[in-house]
Point group: C2
Chain length 129, copies 2
């Protein structure tokens, strides 16, 4: 935990140099991160209860690629550090969604936000899609 905090702590979004576009770009960046986390929660909440090897590989690859392609350089780095310490769990819907919740909680911890109760995710991220 200390290692992650130290590594993730190297840079934060709050110390970027100001520019005429800062307000919009900070908003956009936050929107992307929030939404990416929400997409991850919904995707894992609808992952098969008993996935095939192929489905497991697909989810793991998609998450790994997301952390490489993510448009915010800094978040991409944070993301990669987290994934290394907490590799995606894909053995079942439950494993995957609990994993996503616990990774999000690691971020909450670092930002000194309240921990989220992971027993709630199954109900919360059923979007009826």
């Amino acid at each position: 935990n200390e290692t992650i905090k130290a590594e993730l702590g190297r840079s934060t979004w709050k110390v970027k140099k100001p520019s005429p576009f800062d307000f919009t770009s900070v908003l956009l960046r936050l929107t992307y991160v929030v939404f990416t986390l929400q997409l991850l929660h919904t995707m894992t909440a609808r992952f098969p209860l008993e996935p095939t090897i192929e489905e497991r590989t697909a989810l793991k690859q998609w998450i790994t690629l997301l952390s490489r392609l993510y448009p915010c350089g800094e978040c991409a780095e944070h993301f990669q550090v987290l994934l290394k310490q907490y590799p995606p769990q894909t053995s079942s819907r439950d494993a995957a969604s609990q994993w996503a919740c616990s990774v999000h909680n690691k971020v909450n911890e670092r930002l000194e936000k309240p921990m989220f109760d992971c027993s709630l995710v199954a109900d919360m991220y059923q979007c009826g899609c």
Copy 2:
């Protein structure tokens, strides 16, 4: 074009059976789709100008996996049909972002929305991330 329209046209979001959760779930679904498209635009807008083979494969795989894992069954199907007809272009930032714009325009066309001017995407999706 006619083929796509016919295939995509098989089902639309507007004919779902109503349920007490419909309003929220339709909102959530729209939010997910809008943001997924926005993520795609930002990601391609920040894709390397001259990507390596590895970076090209990463983007193509990520898009393909997204279309399989996408939490809305119906959108996932639409998405897969579109990708088959218009395979992701990854030879450069320009190719990738023009491809994303043209795929989004195919959806706009089907929904009878105005076409988007694809010469604007480079400026529009610089989020300063």
